[in-house]
Amino acid sequence: MEVSFRREIESLRLGAGETFHGEGIMAVTKALLQSGVGYVGGYQGAPVSHLMDVLLQAEDLLDELGIHLETCTNEAAAAAMLAASINYPLRGAVTWKSIVGTNVAADALSNLSSAGVQGGALIIVGEDYGEGASVIQERTQAYAVKSSMWLLDPRPELPTIVKMVENGFELSEASSTPVILELRIRACHVFGSFEATDNKGSQHSAANRFAEPARFDYARLSHPPVTFVQEQDKVHRRLPAARAFITEHQLNEHMGPQDGDIGIIVQGGMFNVLNGRLAEAGLSDAYGNLGLPTHVLNVTYPLVPDEITEFCAGKRAVLIVEEGAPDFIEKDIGQILRQADLNTKIHGKDVLPVAGEYSPVAVAKGLSAFLSRYGRNESARLDDWVDAVEAQAQAVAREMTAPLPPRPPTFCTGCPERPVFSAMKMLREETGPVHVAADIGCHAFATFPPFSQGNSILGYGMSLASNAAVSGTQARRPLAVMGDGGFWHNGLLTGVAGAVFNQDDSVLVIFKNGYTSATGVQDVPSSRPHEEGRGRGLDIESALKSLGVGWVRNVRSYSVSTMRKTLKEALGTDEKGPKVIIADGECQLARQRRVRPANARAVVEGKRIVRTRFWVDPDVCTGDHSCIRLSGCPSLTVKPSLDPLKPEPVAHVNNDCVGCGLCGEVSHAAQLCPSFVRIEVIQNPNAWDRFRARLSSALIRLFGGYGAMPVTEAYPAPHAVPAE
């Protein structure tokens, strides 16, 4: 795991009267413990990876409280785990990244929400939307609406987030419905504080197990004919119960003055952005003393019609601040007002962006349009501000003359996946391009320069499956790449079993780096077991063979030449069915975290340690940078040339180099140039090392030693300039 939460975990033990300081996602964890949760699980993914990391590292505390913890293999498994709350009065919480995780979980969620729950079921999703997001931009709200699950979107401050977790379980139980708690990226990572209460153990738990299973009750199954009953129950009993609970416990908040001729209805999660712009307009301040009546929806599904009509009654217009498309809330409110025969005009997507993140500038523009339409002169202040922002952007662009080059994320220094893409790029130059199905994971960085490859991304572990029709319709055999994370998440069955079943003529490269590295280096089933991890060392190769894959090769991922040869062989062999290459190389982040301190200790203890790194000879480098075009390693960069004859910047390996060997492999495999040098620093050399070094330098001296470059004293022999 990439991040250690040792310090934070102590704060999970805080009790009543103490103040908790920490990250949003940690506050959620603490709130779960305060709610008497019986079981937790999930699948990692930004921005909620830390939730799983913390739970795993806090296993001692969970054991004390009797909480069962499951590292699920995918989100479907996590959603299915909530089945424990269908039959038993047991609170459970699971977490994943949305929208993608919710997509994977959808089948289980539909069945879960149809059957309904006894114990509170809470799904904490990281809404990966807007700046910093890494997935397709869709809203989790759609799932809440179509499956009749309730959606909490709390104001992004710790006390409200904690309250929503606690109330979320109660709401779930009061309405027999699973509840989704949605946190946007910045809310997950926001640091703040709240007043803690004591942790509560669950009545039934891993420590205090149910003696008997639930009695047979057909009504709990999502199976006809009771599915029809459940469908009615959702709308006729659960929905009214939820609305009653929301009103009774004031989950939504009224802020600002009671009355006014215009007002705002805002998603809880968007409140702080709105407040900032209202403050800019002079309609609020840093404490949220609003000058306009505002209805804050900490529950964005379901809406409570009475709350909406009460808020809108007597107002000329309301602005609905609802981020993302489609406008579920705005449509709902329109229907509520129409049915109540209220004439309040609603604005939302007519003045605010229909799609995309509601940044301060986007909100300011919409707010200004709304205010000016209703004769509020505060809009002028917002307009001035927006104008200034845009003027500066243009002024900087003029100064810059060219657009600033983007800086997408890339493979880390020494990453074992980079060499495979180097090999693929060289092969592409040799044999021409093939269709490449990309996947989700660090290897998706190969879609950026300098590799710029991948024809499609269809989801986590879906690459091989996405090549099914491509392989049947292409002259040249297509390639699919997949990480070991994607393999265990989905690729094993959806991809490999399907390709064997159909004898698809496809090539799959599996990156066996040992972890789901993109999400923060979490363990996967094939991770090697070690002190902190949950890996079981499941073997990918035997899994493949037992599924009937006939052509499997294991290649060390740094061996570029071998990888290129193996890829070529896979793309050309007569073997039927899928061909699989396992690119074996441990995630360098994880490796360095382990190796670096160990080596530092060993050096201090006087043990012989050989440290390697690469170096580019600036005199030999000709400044063409083809090595960079085949690598893109962050530690392989350029520096100013000190040679007046060759002013172009030369390649340069900086001190971050971990000596993975790729530079040397590439310069051999691509016959690049002889400027690459591996430096081996023998620390604490032994007697044999010292003897050999002495012997070599004596012999070298004997044969003339290293040469100094001869330097001429003045200009060359003068030549008369012909007088033409």
Partner: protein, 508 residues
């Protein structure tokens, strides 16, 4: 509505793995210890993998507790708002400029603490020539669009203090006095972090002093120096533009080491042909002298061995490797000469026959990967033998080939000089396309030949209008540097002739 204090806002722009999160944490901890409301957030995500990322803090004094009043909880923003940032900390110039463009530093409000440091983007690094952005321009933007700017080589300050950059930036922030937080609170935050406390405190103090004393008076910068600027100029050189003499000197020195005095005389002979000709001014002569020296010092296997045996190189390696006094260093050279490199050391006739033989057998793609330990006798002696072939070099096929190429190029320069001097300038620069080893070298030769046959020769024969000649050669060279596949060059030539054809048709 009662107006209350606005929060102080701090935005940190960093690259993944630089410790921006730790920096934000220190500031927040110090602020909390100071009794302030502090909120911080970030959007790390996959940007942690060396991409650009930001951290945002809002800091607000706690209102004086009035008897019986609820201490109000502030609503701090999670997103920085353009034009509303009090302190922008940037660890890298391009990313800092990006923040400035987004409005996160403004002349009315923002203290910009920036590092004069570039981490090049892949696009900049991978360019076939110099793709780097102009750092002065980036720095100027940061200075123009900030209330005050504390911009300097804080990375160097960190290195000298033996610390990480983020600790130095924390010190600079504390020293700037922009936040209502006492210096010791920051120090306490570093101590509470419990990691690398001593070096971080050193860095903090260095950054603090830097902010207090202002920017470095003498920034240390690597500069390209042209040697020999002060050497006496013999009378017979006096007709050459004096500004070109340092480059001629540098070229002569290079070739003296490369082959010997006689070879330098050949260099001088070749330059002489152009001295005093109309259109040959100092920049022309400088560029010609530079590229002629580079082409004459072509990188054959002998040259590579020669360079790898330079004593100065080992010292460079030792310094670069950060090895301690007692450590031993081995230098392993990655060389992979193919048959062309090896056989081109034979005399022309023999070399061509052997190459043809290998081609017939399909053996011409074979090559020998060698990892030569230059620091061990076994490796040293192999390099020594190779480099001692220097005297043999003038008899090799490669030498003959290179000299013929140089003569052809100089001939084209001479002809275009008579025909159209501005074009001659571009023909000189064209030699810059030929560089590198194996495929890179072959690609350069191919591009050069293509430009000669499709642009220069038609230009000289009058097929290509004179007014379009110089631009065509320049654009062709730039296109050749755009992509290694040569697509841009092919397209450029194609569209050039289409345009000329259309013009002719219109004229007829």
């Amino acid at each position: 509505m009662e107006k209350s204090a606005a929060p102080v806002t701090v935005l940190i722009s960093a690259l993944g793995g630089e410790g921006g999160g730790v920096l934000a944490g220190w500031i927040a901890d110090a602020g909390v210890a100071e009794g302030l409301h502090v909120q911080r957030t970030s959007i790390p995500g996959v940007a942690q993998r060396t991409g650009a990322t930001t951290y945002y803090l809002e800091i607000l004094p706690r209102p004086e507790a009035k008897a019986g009043s609820d201490l109000a909880k502030p609503v701090l923003a999670l997103n920085p708002a353009p034009g509303c940032v009090d302190v922008l900390i940037g660890t890298e110039l391009l990313e800092t400029s990006r923040m400035v463009q987004a409005g996160f530093s403004t002349p009315d409000r923002t203290l910009l603490i920036g590092v004069v440091r570039r981490v090049f983007t892949v696009a900049e690094k991978a360019a076939m020539g110099d793709g780097r952005l102009d750092p002065d321009r980036l720095e100027a933007i940061a200075r123009t669009f900030s209330r005050s700017a504390l911009i300097g080589d804080l990375d160097d300050v960190a290195k000298r203090a033996g610390s990480h950059l983020n600790a130095v930036l924390l010190g600079a922030l504390a020293g700037s006095g922009a936040l209502p937080i006492a210096a010791d609170r920051y120090r306490d935050a570093i101590r509470a972090g419990g990691k690398a406390v001593d070096s971080n405190l050193r860095g903090f103090d260095a950054g603090f002093a830097y902010a207090e004393n202002g920017e470095d008076a003498n920034p240390t910068q690597e500069r390209v120096t042209v040697p020999g600027a002060g050497a006496p100029i013999a009378e017979s050189w006096s007709l050459y533009p004096p500004e070109a003499m340092p480059m001629i000197q540098a070229g002569s020195e290079r070739l003296a080491g490369y082959q010997g005095e006689q070879y330098v005389a050949l260099y001088a002979d070749r330059l002489k042909r152009f001295a005093g000709k109309p259109g040959v001014d100092a920049p022309f002569m400088t560029e010609l002298a530079r590229l002629l020296a580079v082409r004459m010092a072509f990188e054959d296997t002998i040259r590579v061995a020669q360079l790898k045996l330079a004593a100065a190189r080992l010292e460079q390696v030792r310094a670069e490797s950060k090895a301690r006094e007692a450590d031993l260093i081995d230098v392993i050279e990655y060389m992979k000469p193919g048959p062309e490199e090896i056989l081109s050391l034979l005399p022309p006739g023999l070399s061509r026959r052997s190459m043809a033989f290998l081609k017939r057998r399909g053996w011409d793609t074979w090559s020998i990967p060698m990892n030569v330990k230059a620091t061990r006798f076994g490796g040293f002696i192999r390099l020594k033998v190779l480099s001692s072939l220097k005297g043999w070099r003038p008899r090799t096929e490669r030498y003959a080939d290179e000299q013929a190429w140089i003569e052809r190029w100089l001939d084209l320069v001479g002809k275009t000089l008579d025909h159209d001097p501005p074009t001659a300038r571009e023909v000189v620069s064209l030699a810059g396309l030929v560089k590198g080893y194996s495929d890179t070298y072959k690609r350069g030769r191919r591009n050069f030949d293509l430009i000669v046959s499709r642009i220069i020769e038609p230009g000289l024969s009058g097929d290509l209008p004179k007014e379009a000649f110089a631009d065509a050669v320049l654009n062709a060279r730039l296109a050749a540097l755009k992509d290694p596949e040569g697509t841009a060059l092919d397209e450029m030539i194609e569209s050039l002739w289409v345009a000329i054809g259309a013009k002719r048709q219109a004229a007829e």
